[in-house]
């Protein structure tokens, strides 16, 4: 019984649904395609419950951390999370309260998120500066050149240099970089394919012991 719940049923569910969905992709004929979409819809709904799981994990982790030195941040995090939850729910469910959610989104969520995204530029700049400190292969020069070409190629620099750089950038994007990108994509595709086969043949069971 235990084994049934813990392994046999889950495995059959995973393999069964997986094969159905894959079939839907490879033979997109009406019945199969609709079954595929139905199963995917289920997955989406289940994934939504995972959010609740995640939310409580977050609360648990940080309520634990709140008692340790520096816990103030965790306290703030929890408070913000709850505020955000309440405001957004209110905005989504009660049209008259929409302005609350909008305000929160516009003046708290957006600036914070955007600025953190902006920090990426900074860390990348630091990384660029230290590039040759860590990478000592010949290829690093290719990387360096590529980065510079792409970086400067967008600049509206004065005529001759500017145009030349822009063209070089375009060529680089469409030829060498394209080649590398395609090789990478195809390779990753193969990797995905094989892991997928392991899962769909039930030899990998990340969902059970």
């Amino acid at each position: 019984m235990d084994r049934l719940v813990k392994r046999i049923l889950p495995t059959s569910i995973a393999v069964g649904t997986g094969l159905l969905v894959l079939l839907g992709y490879l033979l997109p004929v009406p019945p199969l395609a609709s079954v595929r979409d139905e199963l995917i819809r289920w997955a989406v709904i289940i994934a939504a419950f995972a959010f609740i799981l995640g939310f409580f994990n977050l609360l648990r982790v940080h309520s634990g951390r709140a008692r340790k030195p520096g816990g103030i941040y965790s306290v703030i995090l929890i408070l913000t999370a709850l505020t955000s939850l309440v405001l957004t729910l209110a905005a989504l469910l009660i049209p008259s309260l929409r302005f609350l959610g909008d305000w929160w989104f516009r003046y708290v969520l957006s600036p914070l998120q955007a600025t953190v995204a902006g920090l990426i530029a900074f860390v990348l700049a630091v990384a660029a500066f230290r590039l040759l400190r860590h990478r000592r292969e010949a290829g690093v020069l290719v990387f360096l050149v590529a980065a510079l070409v792409v970086l400067l190629g967008t600049l509206p620099l004065p005529a001759p240099a500017g145009n030349w750089l822009a063209n070089l950038r375009t060529w680089w994007m469409n030829v060498p970089a394209m080649a590398g990108m395609r090789g990478l994509l195809i390779g990753v595709g193969l990797g995905v394919l094989l892991v997928g086969l392991r899962v769909l043949t039930g030899s990998d069971r990340p969902y059970s012991d």
Binding site: A114, V126, M178
Partner: protein, 698 residues
């Protein structure tokens, strides 16, 4: 597979020499000394009984460099908990390895020639640091046990290469214990007369005792909270012990031999004390040959002692058995847990632990590294307090003991300490400086154009954007345009500048905008931009329908494309079918144009794929982030995209064509961006030169 120790190449099982470099390869199989099972080369622990196969010291030096491909199986472990007899036999085996009976001959010799041992001296300082004790000047009585230590070690090394971590702590501890124990000794006094009476002599006889429990007592993760508690508690309690020491010291002159019988009695009757197995060696030395064996073997139980009350108290219970050499009875002993004792034992010891943690990373001595391997204290400290509630008051002792034993066996140092220290290296000042300078330069480059106007760059050029402008310009009025709004606030600073002009152009063309998004923040981000670009807000209802968030990636898109009318307007909550502008729009088939505003490659791909299936004829254009320009260009070349605005530059070009009131802002943006790009390019080149010339710092 055997991995070549020289070049790391994987070679066929059984090969004698490496295919790559011809270097001789280590023997194929290792026979487990415990259970005799054959194990693949590279196993550190027997797959069957988990006994250590390769003595810690014989681990090849390459192990230090993480670069070396160490055998993956090296960390494979038996996936079933070990059976009782197995672990017990393991323990006994340990005993045999660790404690050759020959010890005893050694001891007398020591007693004659006392106090030269370097090893204890080495270890003392650390302990001093932690126990703030004047061990520097060892009292004469101290010497016999101290003197004993080196011999001990010699004995130890002889049979089994590594002084296993468990073994060292007791020895290395001994010296300062004569001082260190003073504190612990005191508390028990009031509560438990028999132990208390015992402690003094036993203290006199040998100062070794409680040191082992100190280290041993630290649970890998469990008991930490208790420790923390302990830290507070003990502070007040420190003084009382302080007075106590004198009696033991007074007792010292008495010849040790006198105590032995007494001591043995104590061992039998007073659980608390026996906690110090390593207490035995010295008396053993003075008494009988047999004791030599138990003495050594008892160095193992401490591993079991993980600071959980249950375990702690079991350890003492065990010792009698070991003396009797009837290990089989050990489990039953778990019944005889005496929780009462624990607090006394733990409290005096705890504060030291607290200190010890801080010292840890700095330790290099073999012993202490062994110690460290044994007790991952720091771990415990930074594991959240939640670890404690998890531990039931009474875990199944056998199971815990087994786990702890394995724990002890497994956590012997695999790698020599020095490397471990490099790991703990603090951030280099160079790093902080670099970071700061880059930051300042970057900010300066961005801010400058906003403060002073720099006519630095010419007008931006972006042919694709111009092409797109033409396409949109020919859009007949009142065309329903589906907009896939695939960006959130994280990208909106860039994407709003990309999408803004395009959206405004569409609005000018009197198009009907139907907005959907597979990003949960998409709809809100869309509203923000639309509000800023919509000249007359009252027009919104007949210009814009925000159909909100489509969960489920491709499937969600597919569904939506098939049934736009079935959705609800995100802002007003009205069903789309009731909106005037959606009156004649039921699916993708009724849409005149699709605009994909994407900041992520997958989003663009998903939409293009789905649209090409649902309605291949509808013209698709895109506004994309500079980040995915590379990935988007193929679609443009393949004709799947009829036009594209990429990045701020594209947006700026489009804005110029459209000539709205936003030109100024774009100018700021472009100049700042240009300056920043130049700055970073310069930094990159400078950095490259610096590190080429300066070479790598590490």
């Amino acid at each position: 597979m055997i991995y070549c120790p020289k070049c790391g190449t994987a070679n066929r099982q059984g090969s004698k020499f490496c295919n790559e470099c011809g270097a001789p390869l280590p023997a194929t199989g290792l026979r487990c000394p415990m259970c005799g099972a054959m194990n693949p080369a590279g196993n550190l622990y027997c797959d069957r009984c988990s006994a250590r196969l390769i003595p810690a010291e014989r681990v090849p030096p390459e192990e230090e460099k993480p670069e070396r491909p160490s055998p993956p199986k090296g960390i494979s472990l038996p996936s079933v908990p070990l059976g009782e007899e197995e672990w017990l036999s393991e323990l006994r085996a340990e005993a045999l390895d660790l404690a050759p009976e020959e010890e005893t001959p050694g001891w007398p010799g020591e007693l004659e020639a006392p106090s030269e041992p370097p090893t204890p001296e080495v270890t003392i300082p650390e302990w001093l640091a932690e126990l703030e004790v004047p061990a520097a000047s060892p009292t004469p009585e101290a010497q016999p046990p101290e003197a004993a230590i080196p011999e001990w070690l010699v004995e130890l090394e002889a049979p089994v290469a590594p002084p296993t971590p468990e073994a060292p702590p007791p020895e290395s501890a001994i010296p300062e214990w004569l001082v260190g124990l003073e504190a612990p000794a005191a508390p028990p006094a009031p509560e438990a007369p028999p132990p208390e009476s015992a402690i003094p002599e036993w203290l006199v006889g040998l100062e070794a005792p409680a040191a082992p429990p100190a280290p041993e007592a630290q649970p890998p993760e469990a008991a930490i909270p208790e420790w923390l508690v302990g830290l507070e508690e003990t502070v007040p309690e420190a003084p009382p012990p302080a007075e106590k020491p004198t009696p033991p010291l007074a007792g010292i002159p008495v010849p040790p031999s006198g105590e032995i019988p007494e001591w043995l009695r104590d061992v039998e009757f007073a659980p608390p004390i026996q906690e110090e197995p390593s207490a035995q060696p010295p008396p053993v030395a003075e008494v009988d040959v047999h004791a030599g064996m138990p003495s050594a073997s008892t160095t193992v139980p401490p591993i079991l002692v993980v600071g959980e009350e249950e375990i702690l108290s079991t350890a003492p219970a065990e010792i009698p058995d070991w003396l009797k050499e009837a290990p089989a009875e050990a489990p039953p002993e778990y019944g005889g847990l005496v929780p009462a004792e624990i607090p006394e034992w733990l409290r005096p010891l705890q504060p030291r632990e607290g200190v010890a943690v801080e010292e840890e990373p700095t330790e290099t001595e073999g012993f202490l590294s062994g110690l460290r391997g044994l007790l991952p204290i720091g771990k415990g400290l930074d594991m959240p307090a939640t670890a404690q509630p998890l531990l039931p008051r009474a875990p199944r002792p056998a199971a815990v003991a087994r786990a702890e034993l394995l724990q002890g066996l497994l956590s012997r140092p695999l790698i020599t300490p020095p490397t471990a220290e490099i790991r703990e290296a603090p951030r280099q000042s160079g790093w902080v400086l670099t970071r700061f300078l880059v930051g300042v330069i970057l900010l300066a480059a961005i801010l400058l154009p906003m403060l002073v106007r720099l006519p630095l760059f010419g007008p931006p050029t972006a042919p694709t954007a111009e092409a797109l402008f033409a396409t949109v310009n020919h859009l007949p009025g009142n065309t329903p345009v589906l907009i896939a709004w695939e960006y959130g606030p994280a990208e909106s600073d860039e994407m709003d500048r990309v999408a803004g002009p395009l959206i405004e152009h569409l609005l000018r063309r009197e198009a009907r905008l139907i907005v959907v998004s597979t990003r949960m923040e998409g709809p809100a981000a869309a509203e923000a931009l639309l509000a800023s670009r919509l000249v007359d807000p009252s027009e919104r209802s007949e210009r814009i329908a925000n159909l909100g968030y489509l969960p489920g990636q491709a499937a969600g898109v597919r569904e939506a494309l098939g049934n736009l009318g079935g959705r609800t307007e995100a802002m007003t909550g009205l069903p789309a079918s009731q909106l005037d502008i959606m009156a004649d729009v039921h699916s993708i088939a009724d849409v005149g144009m699709v605009v994909i505003l994407a900041a992520q490659p997958d989003d663009l791909k998903t939409w293009l794929e789905q649209i090409s299936v649902a309605n291949p004829n509808v013209p698709v254009v895109a506004g994309v982030s500079a980040r995915i320009e590379l990935i988007s260009t193929p679609y443009l070349a393949a004709g799947q995209l009829r036009g594209m605005v990429a990045g701020l530059t594209g947006g700026a070009v489009y804005e110029r064509q459209l000539d709205t009131g936003w030109g100024r802002e774009y100018e700021y943006y472009l100049t700042s961006l240009g300056m920043a790009q130049l700055a970073i390019a310069a930094l990159t080149v400078i950095g490259a030169l610096i590190f080429l010339v300066g070479g790598r710092k590490r």
